[in-house]
Structures are given as C-alpha cells and as structure tokens.
C-alpha cells in the first residue's frame, strides 16, 4: 500500500462481494487499500483510521444502513458513504440520499463504481478546502482588523457624507468628538494636522466597493513629528552652511582682489622704479666716462660702489616684477599676459648663460670666485620666456657667487637630459644648506640660517622667482646640498615649454 492509495472501508459480509468491489475499483485504475467490515465494532475501528470513503452493502446481516450512516457521521464526519445494493427502488434511493449518502450503485452495475468513488472523494476534498478557506479568511480578517487597530497611524473609513464606518482607536483619539471627526474628514491629502506637540500628515483616498468606485473614503493620519523635527534641523544646518559658503566666497573674492591689487601694486611700483633707475645708472655711466677722461681713480672707485648698489636695487626690482607676474598666472610671461608654449620664442640656453655670466662676473671677481662653464654643444633651443629664464640664471648665479667659499669656484653645466629635456646645473663650494632649510628654499622671503648669521645680503625673493619661473615653464627644480660642502641646484626644462594648463 502506498500513501496515495485510497483507503476504502467496505461494509460487506460476503468475501466474494468484497473481492468484486476491489476488482471493479482496480479495473477503473484506482489503487485502494480495502478494509472489509461486517460489524459495528469493526466499522468503528476502521473509521478511526480516517478512511477516504465507505462502501456499504445495503443488507449486511446484523447491521442497518441507517445505523452505519449514523456511525460514519459521528465517528468520521464528512467521510462520504456510497451504498452498494443488489436491488433498489426509487423510494429507498431517495431516503438514502436524504440521509446524506453520496451515491447509490447496483451490484450488477459496478462499472460506475470507480467514477462514483472519485466524485465522492473529490467532493469531500472540495468541501474540506472550503472549510479551510473560510477559517483562513476569518483569521485574515481578524489580522486585518488587528492591523488597523494597532497601526501607529490613525485610520478612519468614512461615508462620502463624513459619517464614520470604521476607525481605529488612534483615529478616535485624534478626532475627540464628532466635530473633530468632520474636521479630519474634510482635510485634503498632503495637509498637516497638529495635535499638541505631535504633527500628522493627512492622506485621503477614495475606497471602492463592487459597484461604486467612491463608495467611501479613507483617511490616514501618519505621525511625522520626528521627521518634522529632523527636517527643521536639516533646514537650519543647510541655512548655516549656505551662510558659511557665502562668507567663504566673499572672503575668497576679497583675497583674490587683494592678491590682484598686490600684484598690480608691485607691477606699477616696479615699472615706476625703472625710470629713475635708468637715470641713476645712465648718469653713473656718463660720470664714469668723464672720470676716465680725467684719470680720476678715486672718483671711479667711489662711483663703482654707487653703480654696484644701483645694479643690486635694479635686480631687486626685476625680481619683484617677475614674482608678481609669475605668481599671478603660472603660464604668464613676464608681461603678465598668458602665453601658450607655442608662442614662446626659442631661447639658446648656452647663449643666455654666457650673458648671465658676464653680468655676474664683477660680483664674482670681488669675492675672488672663479666661474667655469661646461656647456653641451648639442643643446637644442628651449621654447621659453627669455626674460624669465635670464632671471633664473642671474638669481641662481648670484646665490652661487654669494655663498661660494671666498676665492672658491662656481661651476655651470648644461646638458641634454632626455630627448626633450634640457638640464642646467650650478654648483658652488660654499657653506651649503642645512637639510631643514632645503625644504623651505624658494618660499618667498625665506632666508637660510647661515645667510642671516653671515650677513649675506639678500631679500629671500631670488629663489621664489626661480621656482615660479621654472614651474611656469613646466620644468623642475632640485637642490642638493651638504653643510660645509657646497650646494648644487639643478633646473630641468622641457624643450617645447610648458604644456597648456587647464584653466583653474
């Protein structure tokens, strides 16, 4: 017997008939586990095993069909009973159906037995399902009611006229009275309802029945007290941030304006200084020619000091001007106007170095410093601002001469460091730079400890100009130094100049 087999209780005293019934069911393709009974005790026992169907002979000695039916109804309610009988008249059949029999069959027409059993069992299953579904529905209805009742939101179901159909306790608590309920019922969706410290968001929607899409309407009030508080906080924070942002922008604008004014001022002052400097240096030269003609050596010596200091002042002015323009825009030329690399003229670095050395020579001679140049003959021209590059050479050279050992030497080297990279190096044999100071080289107005303690003249602008100019040409600047052993500065410049930089 498999679990799928139909459990059939056969109330029959004759084994041959039991066999007959079993054969009829098998013929019809039904696998059955048949339990024959011929007494009420046996029947009761068989029924306790929850059979699927009972097939009862109408005439079993010692048993009445009515009693069999009653026993089934009480012991196994719902189990269908099919009566199998040798002979039958209409009245008996009607009486049997009245007593709840599922079907009545004649023993000599058992061909229909399988179908009858199937129908009876199927009907019972349906009935059972309906019972189950009714119970489930009731349970779900209970859950729904509980859901509504215990919902943290206030829920009301109302007639179109506003009379309440149903509401939960929260809704009733908010409505307070009939007047309050009418007020809630009239509130449009999206509006807010305040109750003490609490705030509720109103949702109002049509509720349909089978025929009328607006048979009623629902009102749900959701507690948004916390959200409102968070929202208010967010708004306050946002306003604060906006205020800060505005202030930052204003500060930034002010700083930019200040920076522009500073650059303009430095520009103007530098330009204005050039004119009197032209006169100072120019008249100095005329006096020099004059003193030469007179052979006045003392006068010439006094004049040379005046000229040297005028030249120093001019160098300072040039550095200020370079710094003002270079800092204002990294790609700017010394005119302060942006220029693309392609517009920059080709500059012969070796030639520029020669000219710079000529300018530096008097200062070097005064300190007894010799200058050597080792230049690469195959150096390609560099797309550069010649004025800026000249300042780079003059400033680096002036430092090297100033910090070289007395009667020491300064060595210049140029070389091709890559297919498109020109390298320029200047090395002195002087005091060197402490490693702490190395990092801060090139910051405006920064001067090394040794420069200050040794009273080496300077402003702290020279390397700032170098740094800005080299950066403006897309180049690199490197320092190598050990205190007491001298300093080597290396400048690498791309041959094609700075790449066009994206606007800030």
């Amino acid at each position: 017997m498999s679990p799928d087999d139909l459990r059939v209780v056969v109330v029959e005293d004759r084994p041959a008939d039991v066999e007959l019934i079993g054969a009829a069911l098998r013929r019809d393709g039904l696998e059955t586990a048949t339990v024959p009974v011929d007494s009420y005790e046996q029947l009761a026992a068989a029924l306790s095993a929850a059979p699927d169907v009972v097939l009862a002979d109408h005439n079993v000695p010692g048993m009445s069909i009515s009693q069999v039916l009653r026993t089934v109804r009480t012991s196994a309610p719902g189990v269908p009973v099919i009566v199998v009988t040798g002979a039958l008249d209409d009245d008996t059949a009607a009486a049997l159906f009245e007593q709840g029999v599922s079907d009545v069959l004649l023993k000599d027409r058992l061909a229909r037995l399988g179908q009858a059993v199937r129908t009876a069992v199927g009907t019972r299953h349906l009935e059972q399902a309906v019972v189950v579904s009714h119970a489930e529905q009731a349970r779900i209805e209970g859950l729904l009611a509980s859901l509504v009742q215990h919902s943290p939101s206030a829920i009301g179901l109302l007639h179109p006229g506003g009379e309440e159909i149903f509401s939960n306790t929260r809704f009733r608590a908010l409505a307070k009275d009939g007047h309050g309920r009418s007020r809630l019922a009239a509130m449009p969706s999206g509006s807010e309802h305040a109750d003490g410290d609490e705030v509720f968001l109103v949702t109002r929607f049509a509720v349909s029945d089978d025929t009328d899409p607006t048979a009623a309407f629902g009102v749900i009030l959701t507690d948004i007290t916390q959200q409102k508080a968070v929202q208010a906080q967010l708004r306050a924070t946002q306003a604060e941030l906006q205020q800060q942002s505005r202030e930052l922008r204003r500060h930034n604008d002010e700083l930019q304006e200040l920076d522009r004014l500073k650059s303009d001022l430095v520009n103007t002052v530098s330009h204005e200084l050039r004119t009197p400097l032209t006169s100072i240096l120019g008249y100095g030269e005329l006096i020099e020619d004059h003193l030469h003609d007179l052979g006045d050596e003392t006068g010439l010596q006094l004049l040379s000091t005046l000229q040297r200091n005028s030249a120093r002042l001019l160098g300072l002015v040039e550095n200020l001007l370079q710094l003002a323009t270079a800092e204002h825009s990294p790609t700017a030329t010394s005119s302060g106007r942006p220029a693309e690399a392609g517009q920059r003229p080709d500059v012969d670095v070796n030639q520029l170095l020669l000219e710079a050395c000529c300018v530096l020579l008097p200062a070097a001679q005064r300190r007894g410093v010799t200058m050597e140049r080792h230049v690469a003959a195959d150096l390609p021209p560099v797309a550069a601002d010649a004025g800026q590059l000249e300042r780079v050479l003059l400033n680096l050279g002036s430092n090297a001469v100033k910090f070289a050992a007395a009667n020491g030497r300064v060595v210049w080297r140029t070389r091709l460091a890559g297919p498109d990279l020109v390298e320029l190096e200047v090395e002195d044999d002087g005091v060197g730079i402490a490693s702490d100071d190395l990092e801060r080289l090139g910051h405006r107005f920064f001067r090394t400890e040794s420069a200050r303690t040794n009273h080496v003249p300077g402003t702290g602008l020279g390397l700032a100009v170098v740094r800005a100019a080299v950066a403006g040409h897309g180049g690199e600047l490197a320092f190598a130094s050990q205190p007491g052993c001298g300093t080597r500065v290396t400048v690498r410049l791309p041959v094609r100049g700075a790449l066009p930089q994206p606007p800030p």
Partner: protein, 147 residues
Amino acid sequence: MANILVVDDDEDICDLIRLKLTSMGHDVHVVHDGAAAVTALHDQGVPTDLVLLDGMMPVMDGETTCRTLRADPRTAGLPVLMLSARGTPQDALRGRDAGADGYIMKPFSPRDIAAQVVLALERGRTPGGTASAVPAEATGPRAGDRR
C-alpha cells in the same frame, strides 16, 4: 651726423640721451609727449632722421604716436626706436605692431642707446616693411639725409 628727435616725459631721461648723443656729434631735439612729437614732425618740419619714442607718456602714448607717424606719408618711413619701462617681449611685439623699428628696454645704458642709434641709422628702413606701402616720393622729412 644725424638729427634725432627724443620724445620722453621724463626730463632727466631726455637729458641723459641728449648728453650721450650730442657727445657723439648728433643734433638732438627734445619734446615731452607724443602730440608734441607729431606737431614737431608734421607741422614744424623739425629736421629728423630718427625718433626715440617713450612708450608711456601723457597726452599721446608712444604706440599711438608711432601709428600716427606711420599713417602719414611724410613720416611713414622715418626710423622709430621705442623706449619702455615695461620692458617685456609682449611690449616689444606691441611696439613692432605699431610700426616701430626697434625696442629699447628701460633701464638702458647710454652705451646701449648709442649702439642702437648707430645701427638704426645705418640700417634705415628696409623696403618691404610698413613703409613699402608708401610712395617713394612721400617719405619723411630729410629722409634723403639718412644713408
């Protein structure tokens, strides 16, 4: 020797140039703004072989003055060297755009000026420059002296 017109609003600079150039044997005439230079050349017929023109001046600046001179057939071919305290490659380009033949940055040394003046007088204005559009008979005053 040549007649040279010096145009600069700074009197000391004017004197400096005049002292140097007269020591070389040149005749120097000085005015202090561009408009005065134009008047001297166009209306007063001041004999001039070369103009030294400052860039930043009141009334009429150097570039405008240079353009004005170039636009008039009488002075279109006159050599002009510009002086400027702004001294940047861009300024030099602007001066050339205005029609100047050369550009001297301030601060300059009197020796520089002397050398540049000699070069400019020797070179004159080459054909094919701005002056090429001007008919040969309409060159500047005393243009014939400059050779």
